[in-house]
Structures are given as C-alpha cells and as structure tokens.
Symmetry: C2
Subunit: 323 residues, 2 copies
C-alpha cells in the first residue's frame, strides 16, 4: 500500500512517517512512504524524500501520477503567515488543495474509475469562530475568524464533494492544538501552551503571556498520529456525507496544565514559568475555542488523552527521554 | 451610486433592475445600472446590458475596473447542471467568484484603500444537508449534499474573509425557493412548487410529482428583491464576522399551497393539478430543508411573506395581471 505524506517534513509528518516505518499502516505490511515538503530535518524519518512546494502544480500532478493509495495532507502555511500574507495564504492553503484534488480526479478518470485514493486532510479547529457555546458540538457552524480557518473550511467542502462524487475517499480531521510540541518555540500565538511545559522540563525559563484562567483544547503528537492512522484505515462509509469532523482532545485551563506539571516534575520546575502578560497574544487566544463535545469522532473510534498529565507523560516518553 | 448586477438577465436580476429603475436604490436618486449576463430577455429591464460569462476572467476584470459601488452577484449555473457537469459547476460557481473577488481586491489596493464596494451574494439553502433539526437555526452547520451547495458555501467563506480584511463589504443571503416563478417551467427539481400554482391560474394543467405532505421553504420574487435591496443598503457592521445568513420565508406543505390556491381561485382551478408521482423528484426533494428559524435575519430587518396565500397574491399582482 503506497503512502504519500504532504508536509512530511513537519513535526507531525515526521512522527507519522516513523510510525509507518515501525508498524506499517495496517499492522502487517511495510508500505513504501513518500514524503513531500519544502525542507526536511537533517536526521529525518525513513521514507523517500521529495523536495517541493504544494504551490507547484506540476509537482502535484507528478505526485498524483504515481497513484498513491493513501494520501496524508498535512501541508499548509501557518495561521499567522496566512493572516499577514493574504494572497500567499489562499494560494498555498486553498488553491493548491484544489489543484491536487483535480490531479487525483484526472488519475481516477484515466484509470477507468479504479483509482480512488484514501485522502486524509488535517483541518483545524480554526474553522470555528466565536461566539461559541460552552462546548462546540458536531453540528456547530464553521464561521472562521482567520484566513487560515476559511481556507481549511473551503478545503473540507471540496474534499467532501470530491468524495461524494467518488473521485477520492476523503476525510477532514480537525486537530486540537498539538501539545507538547518538541523542539524550539515558534511564532504561533499558541506556542506558549507547549513552551510552559517543555522549557521548564528542560531547565529553561518559560514565558506565560496570558492569565492562567485561559481554557484551551489539546491533544498530544502521539494522539495526532493515532487520528491520522485511524482516518486512513477506517470505513469512511460510516461518515455518510459529513466527512469533516472535530477530533477528541483535553479541555483544560493553563492553571490545570501547570498543576499537572507540578505533580509530575515538582515545584522547582514550575518555578521556571514566568508570567509576562502580552495583550496581543491574549486578544488572539480569546477568540479561540475552549471545549468540544466530540460525540461523532469518539463513536467512530478516534481517541485522545484523558487528562493533561497524560499529555505531559507522552512528551517525556516520546521526546524528552528518547534523545 | 453605480450598480452592477451579475446574472442581470435572469428572473430575479430583471425584477431587481426594474425596481432600481423605478425607485433607485436609496429612494432619492436614480443609479446607473449595468447588467451582466450571457443572455437577456427581448423586452428587458432598463440598464446597460453587457453580454458575457463569469468564466471569462478578462470580462470580470473589466467590470471590476469600472469600480461599481454596489455589486449584486446572482450569476450561477443551476443545481442540476452543477451536479451533472462537475468541472463546469466548480469553474462557473466557485473559481469565477474567486477571480471576481481578486479583481475587486486589485481595485481596492490600486485606489489606496478608498474603493470598497458593497457586495451582495445570493447564496442558497442548498448549503445545508440533512439530517436536519425540525427548524434550521442560525448556528446550524453547512454540510451540503450537492456540488452547487458546496460551491455556494465556499463562496460564503471567501466573501466573509475578503470582507473581514476590508477589501469589499460583503454579505451572503441564502434565498428560500423562489415561488411563484413567472414564465415557463424549467428543469429544476423545484420547478413544480411554482408550476402547481402558476399553470392552473393560467388555465393549464399542472403535474404534482410528490405527495402533498411534502413541506418546503418559500419566498416570493418580490421578497427576494426586498432582501437584495436591504442587503445593499443596511449597515453590515451589525453582522460582525458572520456575513452569511438564511433569509426569512414561509414554511408550508404542498397541501397548504393547494388550499391557499383554492381559497383564492376556487375548485375549478385546483382541479387542474394532476398527481403523477416521480420517484426521482421525490428523492431529491426529501433531501431538502423544510423549515428555518431565521432569528438573525428578521432582527436585521429582512422580511418575507407571512403565509402562502400572500405569495400567490403577489404573483397575481406582479406578474399575471400585469401582462
């Protein structure tokens, strides 16, 4: 079973590739994996690396022409960049997605309808915009407040329609904020959610830019890989024509994150978190979802952690203690 | 105030143009109106006619370069055609919409930000797909079951994002099924909703392809013109960033439609309706919304008829007795 990972050079893409190399996709066979991205880490996960951009239509057509049986689409420019560069955001995140779907439809038609790849798209909770109910249910509208969210929501609609027509067999999974991210802090407004756990555990001071009453929605990188694997192998007929769904996660406040860290690592580690309010970050975070009721996803077999302590322990196991 | 109507040759576009010629847009000035469409009726409404297709990027850029202050976008290929010709549907209904928005953004930027047109887009209740609640509220998700619905839903997302960024000042209004349509029956599955009223009132037999228990959501062409005029003149700041909304209408069963016709025109007219079940039409109609709770739109001043009898009387006044 040939597998293509778009965005295969990123954090989740690399963890997915490693998981596929270790366990295959269905558990009993090794699958040839192709990773497509603009860059890769130096000691990357196993797989055939192809360097390129999703904004290159010819590259996308070449990838489609190889007729991969499973496609994981994780590639996008991040929320902040899509917001500051309107044109680049829509081009990279939406129009390129259309180009890929069209290339796959061309292969479907050329194969006489036999080629119909499984297509797993990582959407985002950014498709939602406030005002929210206390918990966002499976029938709540997509009313994004960022270009990134609007692009993801358009892609969900396209993928559902291409799937309804039988050109591909697609599913859009809306990931929670992935926490604890290994490696360095990045410029995303959400970066501190990982930073306040990761930095202290590495003996480094971390900045907390928001009040500890802020509530947010998390899942571990390991849970994300689990979502992707399940989405690639489950029977999508169960979705009927609602092929976009919010993934399970852990809803907790920053104070609860910190208490979980204290229970696992002690007061001296927690003491490395320094509060330094940042109004810009606070304003962005205020617009974000806080909690979900993911009945559909759980019924369909998707599972995340049950509390934030588990999320921290996964970071210790999979990243910190593995180095 | 210069006005552009895309799809100005269609039934609603023509009624809108006539209303603008009679009353202006704001009630105290006559506005130059440009109508863009692939064809126009022989004795058309007043306005400068430009023949062309929305699939012609150069034509769209020319229209944008004239910097109309108000744009009504009514142009699309219909639901049935978008379903049978996948490629043409997405090209005409979605990609062309993007091309127009980009052309307007170019004018916005070239004007140093001064040009920011009001943009009224006629979306559709086809953005919704079952299973439905008894009444569809303002926070129910868009999960379309047709390509046409998916294209309209994408356009709503794009228009909201272009508006949030300040390039245009847009609103998407989801029209109910427009009834009673004057003129001849067309191939739309919804055609009979008008046909069973219009044909008998003109002394002609009409076919009813569904059981009279079928419930649906209607508004008159006069109400549609009212929605468009209100959408073009109201303060859109009230919408915050939820710029797509379902319009008010009348929810009634086919039996209630027929009883309203009987009360207005008598038994002999009703006797011209002949039941002839059509399973294909029945299956399509079963997937359609039946009722809405349009709290937001009503609060914002949009109004439709209060019962189906009123819809019939509007057909008599505006179309049948005017000929």
């Amino acid at each position: 079973m040939s597998i293509l990972i778009l965005g295969g050079g990123g954090m989740v893409g690399q963890k997915l590739a490693r998981s596929l190399a270790d366990h295959g996709l269905t558990g009993h066979e090794k699958s040839p994996v192709t990773l497509f991205d603009i860059s890769f880490p130096e000691t990357g996960a196993p797989g055939k690396q192809i360097r390129g951009s999703v904004t290159d239509p010819l590259a996308l057509r070449r990838l489609a022409a190889a007729r991969p049986e499973v496609i994981f689409h994780l590639a996008s420019i991040v929320s902040g960049e899509a917001e500051s560069d309107f044109e680049l955001g829509w081009l990279t995140n939406m129009h390129s997605f259309w180009t890929l779907l069209e290339a796959l439809r061309t292969e479907h038609l050329a194969s006489g309808g036999r080629y119909r790849p499984r297509f797993v798209f990582t959407s985002s909770i950014a498709v939602f915009g406030g005002p929210y109910p206390d918990r966002i249910g499976d029938e709540f509208l997509s009313a994004p407040l960022t270009s990134y969210g609007a692009q993801k929501a358009c892609n969900e609609l396209m993928l559902t329609d291409f799937s309804r027509k039988g050109f591909v067999d697609g599913i859009s999974i809306r990931l929670p904020t992935i926490c604890v991210r290994p490696g360095k802090a990045n410029k995303a407004a959400s970066s501190f959610f990982s930073g306040i756990i990761r930095e202290p555990l590495n003996g480094v001071e971390a900045i907390l830019p928001v009040p500890d009453t802020v509530r947010h929605w998390h899942a571990s990188p390991r849970a994300a890989v689990g979502f992707l694997r399940h989405a690639a192998t489950m029977d999508l007929g169960q979705l009927h024509d609602r092929r976009a769904l919010s993934m399970p996660g852990v809803s907790c406040t920053v104070a609860e994150q910190i208490e979980a860290l204290r229970a696992i690592a002690g007061n001296n580690v927690v003491a490395l978190i320094r509060s330094e309010p940042d109004e810009t970050v606070q304003r962005i975070i205020e617009g974000w979802p806080r909690d979900f009721d993911t009945v559909r996803a759980r019924k369909l077999g998707f599972a995340a952690e049950s509390d934030f302590a588990e999320i921290i322990r996964i970071y210790l196991d999979d990243d910190l203690h593995r180095r």
